[in-house]
């Protein structure tokens, strides 16, 4: 096994641990921190089921963003939906035999790669072209899009230009999962792709990518509008009356 293979094997173990542990720690922190007051942005659902629907619309369709800004919605939604398809498509590198529905979505996932790159490019362009968004952008905002765009571009490159030996790539990842390490094909676009993906996994729990778990914990979206019917009291607040 080459040094490169060993390096990527270790990198992915490390990245996985950071991603899983980091996000778990953040989710634990979000969950543990009390929300002492009822603050749903109204009009809000008056039942738990209604809240589930509100969240589902928010997560599946970006409802609030749709009301807010059509361009950001178009690019943002396209980007995320494409990303979802691409991720699902990649399941085939981690499953043996490959599930039937994963086989079925392969062609969609492929085109989604282009959509993802295109949408990311448009979002990036907005960071330069729209004065207000330029003002609020930090270097890390630019880097994040560059990272995602790099991942998409290197992935598409492997598929459509250089033709990486994906059978060997799959063997490598299945090997990682089974602790039976296999060699990784020596291939520049693949190295780039995997390095960037590992980088993304590592920064995830420390960056704005936390919006993914965060949205589920947003009190303005996930609270039921029933303050007159049910008392809502955080433990630290209850002590004031004791």
């Amino acid at each position: 096994m080459s040094a490169a293979s060993l390096f990527f094997a270790l990198l992915f173990y490390f990245a996985t641990v950071v991603l899983v542990a980091g996000v778990a720690a953040k989710v634990y922190e979000f969950a543990r921190t009390p929300a002492p007051l009822k603050i749903p942005t109204t009009p809000a659902p008056t039942t738990t089921f209604g809240v589930v629907l509100r969240m589902a619309r928010e997560i599946a369709f970006f409802e609030s963003l749709f009301k807010s800004n059509l361009w950001i919605w178009v690019f943002g939604w396209a980007f995320h939906f494409a990303l979802l398809l691409v991720l699902l498509r990649h399941l085939r590198y981690f499953t043996e035999p490959v599930w039937a529905w994963v086989v079925w979505i392969q062609p969609f996932g492929m085109y989604a790669g282009f959509a993802m790159a295109g949408a990311a490019a448009c979002l990036w362009a907005r960071r330069f072209l729209v004065e207000r968004i330029r003002y609020i952008s930090t270097p890390s905002d630019h880097l994040m899009i560059a990272l995602l765009l790099g991942i998409a571009a290197s992935g598409l490159m492997m598929k459509f230009v250089t033709r990486t030996d994906i059978v060997a790539v799959k063997a490598f990842f299945l090997g990682l999962m089974r602790f039976d390490w296999q060699a990784l094909p020596a291939d520049a676009p693949l190295y780039v792709h995997l390095t960037l993906v590992a980088g993304l996994m590592i920064v995830f729990p420390f960056s704005k990518l936390l919006h993914a778990p965060g949205v589920f914990f947003s009190p303005t979206r996930n609270q039921v509008d029933d303050p007159r019917e049910h008392r809502h009291l955080a433990p630290w607040a209850a002590r004031l009356d004791a």
């Binding site: 929300a35 109204t42 009009p43 609030s64 947003s218 303005t220 509008d225 007159r228």
Partner: protein, 510 residues
């Protein structure tokens, strides 16, 4: 009105998003609270030597107490969807008034002291040390946010800049940098019982005068009882209703409604204030303490219902927070909550908004209304932010929009809506909410009112609107002040119950 020392925005039919004018409001200087004002609320009198570590420690404390703060500071992706949603940005063009930029004033410091990348690579992630300049920027720009929550409607993660502003003001107070206007008012509530510092005897005098006026006007003995034990309803209303115009016309309206329906009601000198500025400074202890006066009055007077008058943030506090803070509502199990549940009538929503009460009576045919009495008016309705985006009325979501409108339609023949996108949950703040209704902030208030003024001008020009009805004491005071800057008459501002008052016919049913 003296000529303003600033340019009043020109009202366009479709106001454009302004180009950025960095520092456009940097000269804005809210007055800092004096040491005694801060001290009365338990805050340090002035900025202590070690303010920086104290402020950071306080931020750490808040991060453990408020999930909203933690989630909102972590989740913003800088998408920019909120950048053109704040009336203060639209009116001033100052980029720090864009909601996300306002949040970033705090977020940058959070990143620096509480996140790994901010500790390691501050420049990369926009993290900053908490310096004196940053603190001054906080004080300025967190007092340029009216906590109206318009931005939270549009953010894909529901990030509510109001929560960030409240946390920032709480941190500022913890190091002795309070806003004079707000801290002075909270002090008055503790000392005298209401925001305006109106003592009990003055309150008695005022209502006696009003009773006489109503006698002259209607020939009926419409009462405005104070501290009457055994009344059915305790009415808690913003103290501005007692003597400010046009507020007082709504107070007269409430009295006539109760009179016509034969409901025994009372005001209370203990709870002579519905407003709760504790919310504006994000200080839970103050919020709790101020709300405690209501519980005390309700228990002492033995009332069956607690009803809240026309006030936006007061209704937010009452509707959303009272059950939490003082047990007015269902389901509490502490001592006071239990007492209140035994005493208050469970057939009514506790607390109720005066609009809920009036609309219920109208629906049941309990009021005689003469709509023609309002025929000289073409009415539009301004949704107040805290009612629209932080509370509800009635049984279904959106009742806070429908019920006041239903009342207006029942008491007036000419009603016109302002443009969609400027009403309901997308309503624009009056420009004076969130504790910004003070004189030194007049430029901000005038400019912040621009989006609402533009929407109003359209219906004035197209439909001849000559009355903007609302249900908020702060909105009323703010608009009365800023209307003249935009060429509107002060008399166009009024309460929903002012319209009710003019239309209601007393004695007809007997």
């Amino acid at each position: 009105m003296a000529a303003p020392e600033f340019a009043v925005p020109v009202l366009e039919e479709f106001p454009a998003v302004p180009a950025l004018q960095p520092g456009a409001m940097a000269h804005n200087k809210p007055f800092v609270a004096s040491a005694p004002l801060n001290g009365a609320l338990g805050f340090p009198g002035e900025l202590p030597e070690d303010w920086q570590p104290r402020a950071i420690a306080h931020m750490g404390e808040l991060l453990h107490k408020y999930r909203s703060l933690r989630v909102f500071l972590d989740s913003c992706v800088h998408c920019g969807a909120c950048t053109d949603k704040c009336h203060y940005f639209l009116g001033t063009g100052d980029p720090k008034n864009m909601p996300v930029a306002r949040q970033d004033l705090l977020r940058s410091v959070y990143r620096r002291y509480f996140t790994l990348p901010g500790k390691l690579f501050p420049a990369l992630v926009g993290a900053r040390d908490l310096t004196r300049e940053v603190l001054d920027d906080w004080f300025r720009y967190f007092n340029e946010c009216s906590e109206c929550r318009r931005c939270s409607v549009f953010c894909p993660y529901g990030i509510d800049t109001a929560e960030i502003t409240m946390a920032a003001r709480e941190i500022l107070d913890s190091v002795g940098v309070g806003h004079k206007y707000v801290n002075e008012i909270i002090g008055k509530v503790h000392k005298i019982g209401n925001n305006l510092g109106l003592p009990g005897p003055a309150l008695h005098n005022t209502v006696e005068g009003l009773e006489e006026d109503m006698k002259d006007e209607t020939g009926e003995d419409v009462r405005m009882p104070v501290d009457e034990a055994g009344a059915e309803v305790l009415l808690v209303t913003p103290s501005a209703d007692f003597f400010a115009e046009p507020h007082v016309y709504s107070l007269i309206g409430y009295a006539k409604v109760f009179h016509a329906a034969g409901i025994r009601w009372t005001l209370s000198t203990t709870a002579s204030e519905a407003g709760n500025f504790g919310m504006f400074i994000g200080n839970y202890e103050q919020l709790h303490k101020v709300a405690g006066r209501i519980r005390q009055a309700a228990l002492e007077l033995g009332v069956k219902r607690v009803v809240v008058g026309e006030c936006g943030h007061a209704w937010r506090v009452a509707y959303s927070f009272w059950n939490t803070l003082n047990g007015v509502g269902a389901g509490g199990d502490d001592h006071y909550a239990q007492l209140l549940q035994k005493q208050l009538d469970p057939r009514y929503k506790q607390p109720s908004h005066i609009c809920e009460v009036t609309w219920d009576l109208i629906r049941r045919g309990a009021l005689t209304l003469d709509k023609e009495a309002n025929d000289h008016r073409v009415v539009t309705f301004h949704d107040s932010c805290n009612v629209a985006r932080a509370s509800r009325m009635g049984d279904v979501p959106g009742g806070q929009f429908e019920i006041p409108r239903a009342i207006i339609r029942a008491v007036a023949n000419h009603f016109v809506e302002m443009a969609p996108g400027t009403t309901h949950e997308q309503t624009f703040c009056c420009g004076g909410g969130g504790g910004l209704l003070s004189d030194e902030l007049i430029e901000l208030r005038v400019k912040g009112a621009m989006p609402r003024m533009a929407a109003l001008k359209n219906v004035v020009d197209q439909h001849g609107v000559n009355f903007m009805a609302m249900i908020c004491a702060i909105c009323k005071a703010q608009f009365t002040k800023v209307f003249p800057y935009y060429g509107f008459k002060m008399g166009m501002v009024g309460g929903v119950h002012q319209l009710v008052s003019d239309a209601i016919r007393l004695g007809a049913k007997q």
